[in-house]
Structures are given as C-alpha cells and as structure tokens.
Amino acid sequence: MRSVEPDPVEAKPRHRPSRAPRTAMPERDARERAGDFDEVALGYTEELARAEAMRCLQCRNATCIEGCPVNIDIKAFVGHIIEGDYEKGVAVLKERNALPAMCGRVCPQEDQCEIACVLAKKGEPVAIGRLERWLGDYDLACELDKRCVPEIAPPSGFRCAVVGSGPAGLACAGELARLGHAVTIFESLHAPGGVLTYGIPEFRLPKAIVESEIFMLTEMGVEIVTDAVIGATYTLDELMNEEGHDAVFIGSGAGLPVFLGVPGENLNGVYSANEFLTRVNLMRAYEFPKADTPVARGRKVAVIGGGNVAMDSARTALRLGAEEVFLVYRRTEDEMPARRDEVHHAREEGVKFKMLCAPSEIVGRDGFVTGLVATRMELGEPDESGRRAPVCVMDSEFEIECDIVIVAVGTRANPLLAQAAPDLERSSRGYVLTDDEGATNLPGVFAGGDIVTGAATVILAMGAGKKAARAMDRWLADRAIEV
C-alpha cells in the first residue's frame, strides 16, 4: 500500500504495446473502385487507429522521428492516440505539418518515417502514415471553431507574396500568416493546390480535403489570387516594387513535361502525364460533356514511366474506361520510384506491368496512335545512382497495340520563371539556386519545393516552404531594424 498520493503522471497506466500484426486499412474492392473516381483507401476507424497506435513501443529513442523529413514528433502523436486525446495529437502534427490529412495519404512512408521505425526491422513498422491520415481527417471533420488553428502573431505590417499554390507555397503562406505577415498567394491556374489539385487524382487524394485545407489558410487571412501568372501578369520586380510586397517566396514547381524524343511523339493520342491528368482532374474531363474539356478515352493505353505520376495516369486511364492499360518501364518493379501502396493498387486494379521495356517509337495511322514500339532491356552494372542501369537487348523490338500513349518520365523547370526575374540565379537545368534556408541571390526573394530540388515529394516541398517562411520572417525583422 502506498502512503502518498500518486504523482499524476505516474497515474497514467503504463503503455503495454500490442503484438498484433500491422492493422490493415479498409479499401474498396479493386473491381468496383476501378470504375469510378472515389477514394480507394477508406482510412482507419477510431477502433482501428487505436489498435494500430497500440503497436507503437513508445521508444525512448524514437528513431522514426529522424525518418520524417520535417521531424514530426511521431512518438508523441501516436502516444496521444493511445491516450485518446486526439486534439493534442492533431496539435503535435500541426507543429510541423500544416496538412496532415494530405501527407498521411501521399507521403512515401515506406522510405521515410516507417522505414526508420524500430519495428521495421521485423518487417511490420507502425503504420505512421495511416495514423497521421486518421488524425488529419479527425481534425477536418470537426466544426470549424473546434479545429486546430495555429495561434496568429499580431500583425507585423509586412506584406509577403507567394508564387504558386502547391504544397510549398501553401506551407510557406500558412507559416507567414502565423508569424503575423499579410500574405497573398498568386496562382497561374484558375484553382489553387498545384499538383495536389491538377496532378494527384481524386481517388488517391480527394479534392474536398485539399479544398478544406486551403480554406483553413484563407481563414487565417491568406489571400489567394488565381489566374495570375508571375512572369506574364506580373514580374517579380513588379510584385515587390509596384504591388508593395516586402518579400517574395517562389514555389512554382517543376512544371515542364519532358517527352522521350522518339519518332511519332506528336501523334494524336500521345499525352504528357501533366496534360492527361490536368484534363481529368482540374478540368474534370471525366464529366465531359457536362464539363467542356474533352480527353481521349483509349481502348488500350500505354503509360511510360514507373513513378507516382505513371501510376496515377495508368489508374486514371482505367477509370476512363480503357480495356487494357500497360505500364511500360525501363527497369524492374523493384526500382520503380512510386509509393509501394500505389504499385500494389495499380496491379490489383488490373494495370499490366511491362517491365524492362524501353519505348523506341510511337506509330500511327491518319495522325492517330496505333501502337508503341519498345525494346527489351536487361539490367547491367549499377550506375551513379546505385541502381543497375538498363541496357538494350539486341533485336528485341516488339509492338504494343494501343490508341493512347501517356508519357510520365519526368519534368523540368518551367521557362516562365526566367521571364519573371532574369537575374534570379538558376542552375544549368533551370532550377532556382538557394541557400539552406531558401534564400536566393536576390534580396527578399526566397524559393522552395520542386522549383529548387526538381520533382520531389509533397512533404519535402512543404518543409522547404515552411523553412523559407521562417527565413523570410528573420529577413523582414532585420530589415525593420535597419530602417
């Protein structure tokens, strides 16, 4: 018998981790879901989330945190789920990540937080992404006044412009607003969100989630101006000197599609993944003719590439009614950079993988595609990236019959930015050069996301945007002292 009142902390029951296997996330049946654009993965219920959280060991040395590019205190937020204190869990997430409902859905967790979890050694890491998604959704489902809104500093009197409303721009704007600055986002398209809106399909990232996350930013006072192309509507110089912005963040993404350079590439029916996905997601071509923008609906579709963009294109083509969709990739499935979940989903839905094949020509009749000629490859010695480089097998050409070809082999920096600011320092490939904090060579101009790193991930873009916002804040404060 204890004689003194127990310490309130000690009163908490000691966490006893469950030894159950990793909790599966409910998904819609592959055949059913391949016929519509609704979300594939349904997310945990509260019970499932609690069960999964219970698997966490609450390690003294929580290695998972190091694995997350923005160092979310994973141990703490999972701990709050265990305790049932979800508001606190959301608050922990939002310290580092303004958009958890999205990152929980699209982060390549298997290469980031989850691979760093101690349980990964046994092959069954805590499903950190799924838990993050669940908490993010929990927050979004709350009444507006109950939602976790960061505290906003008193107005600083400074005005900041953010170019681009992708994850980098949104995260930067959110952080700047929190620090008390007046923020305006300039977006060239008619809707905000960047790749989250025009690229990643509804079935993987519902647009309602993107919209409500963006709505939160406007609630925090961020103004969003769409239809404003920086470099055309305004130059950077005009943003600062005429429009009265004290600092600018560039988060314009890596938007220029790369083509293969093979014969036949301008035939009708050949799309860049950007065009195909933009027509479907942003312009809602799947509702044509209710929505005015058409898209060719192929009977047989060949998608070239092995990343998330290729998976999204292939699965979108299936949903538009294609009978057969082939995924043509130069290396093997092991080398594909796409999220594991998406590769698995694509396969389940019936996408046919043609691995170790490199396209050499697109053939057609009367201006329209009829087939893709490919060469078989085998894996040779590892190249600079450490991956084994594919080499051609002699005389192995074969033709894949198809009426649509979607090229998803990467992007480069968009040239419009050069027009926006000719003296902004860029790499030979057109990406903006910055220091570790996101500062460019121009005073008051910062940058982050894909326009700095080349095509990367949502969380890296958001991390860069947030970091740059803090650097902008310091720059503005220093300037205020000088004045």
């Binding site: 398209l189 055309a232 509507t233 009708n268 799309y271 933009t278 003719p289 201006g367």
Partner: protein, 279 residues
Amino acid sequence: MFEIIDKRQLSEAVFEMGVLAPRVARKIRAGQFFIIRTTENGERVPFTFSDWSAEEGWIRFIFMRVGKTTHEISHFEVGDTIADVVGPLGVPTHVEDLGRIAIIGGGVGAAVAYPVARAMAAAGNPVTVVLGARNEDLLILREEFEALPLERLLIVTDDGSVGEKGLVTAPLKRLAEAGEIDHAMAIGPAIMMKFCAATAKEHGVPCTVSLNPIMVDGTGMCGSCRVSVGGVTRFGCVDGPDFDGWEVDFEELMSRQRVYVDDERAADAEYSRGCSCDL
C-alpha cells in the same frame, strides 16, 4: 469574375467583345493572347487581344463561333461575367526593323492581324495588309484597317464579292515577285498560313506565322500545344505563338487541331439543343 463591357457582331459568326480585366490589360503587346474560361464548367480557350487599354483596364477580342465555347460566349451580353481571364501570354510579335512587310489576315485572323499591323506601322515599317475572307459578309475590320497608316490595303474574297477574287496567296506572290516586301506575316487558318509560308519561301521572303494549336494551361505546363518547327518540338504557348513559317510542320498542326472533332461536335450539338438561337 470579369465583366463584359461591350459586344458587337461583326459578321454572321464573328463577334467582338470587351472585358474589364485591369490586371491583364496592364502591359499587353501585339501578338499576345489570353485564356478564358466562360463558367465553372468551361474549357480553357485562348484568344488574341485585338485591342486594349492599360489606363482604363479593359481588353477586347474578336472571335468566330466555331464550337461549344465560342457559341456559348456569343450569347454572353454586356454586364455578364466570365469566370476566368488569364494573361497576357505568349511571346509578343517582333515588330522592329523588319522593313517592308506584308501582313496577311485570313478570316478571323484579321482580328489578330489588326494590332500587329498597328504596332508594325507605329514602329516605322512600311506595311501592306492583305485581308482575305470567303465573301464580303465575312470580311471584318475593314474600316479599322483603313484608318491605319498603311502603305496599302488589299482585299481578297473567294467569290469576288468585294476586292480581288481568289486567294490571299495571289497578291502575296505578286508583291514578292516584284521585290516589294522584305518580310511576310501570315495569320489565319493553318491551311492559309501553310500556303502563304510556301509562297513566301519560293521567293526567299521570310514569313512569320501565328499558330493556334490546342491549349490547356497556356503556361508551358502540359505540352498540348506542341508544334514541330524545323524538326524540333516547341510549345506554342511559351515559345510562340509566332514561329518561322518556313520551318513549321503544318500537316502535323492541322492533324493535331482535329484531335477532338468528334467530341467537340457532340458537345456543341448538345449545347445547341438547349439553345434558342438559329445556329
């Protein structure tokens, strides 16, 4: 939202419209274009500025009713609003020091040719304008061109109902043969630009063309607008719309312009069913 401030019907299927868009009007240069979306369900379609005022914050454009979107917008009236106007886009037309220039505007291409001719003349180039149309009723902007300080204005119609009977390539050929032009610029349907460029090339006259491939974003993000110029793939929206006519693969351009014909026809038929006008 962008308010329509004036509207004029120039011929049976051609309309002129003025829209308040101060942000866009600020620094337009001849040859540039913009993108509109009529409504929330609208397609993004490009049009060229035919006129603008930075001070008063308006832009004007001339369009021909060819399909669903242009049909729909032909029913918009003064006071109605357009969901989106984005621009100015594209590389402005190069207007300085070209010497004696012939500008050929075919059909609704005359609308694009008008600000270009005005800028060329203002830059001190002696300008000949050749306006082509199927017949007199379809000829647009004649008075506006007549009011410009041009060297000459030549009019050509397919049926001879006004001006010379025939195709715009005939006067172009005469001018080139007589050595009276240093540069040609053709703006109109792809087929017309193709023959103008070929005629100019035969006589060693450089020929700029203003291409109109199908676009989506208009900012270099999608590649829908790609055209082959000198065997190299270029993006019409950010590298153009002006290109060297000698080098353009017009067959490919015309083929690519037809990619959605069936869908477009269906969409316009569907729209026309619910529409009381006579088209």
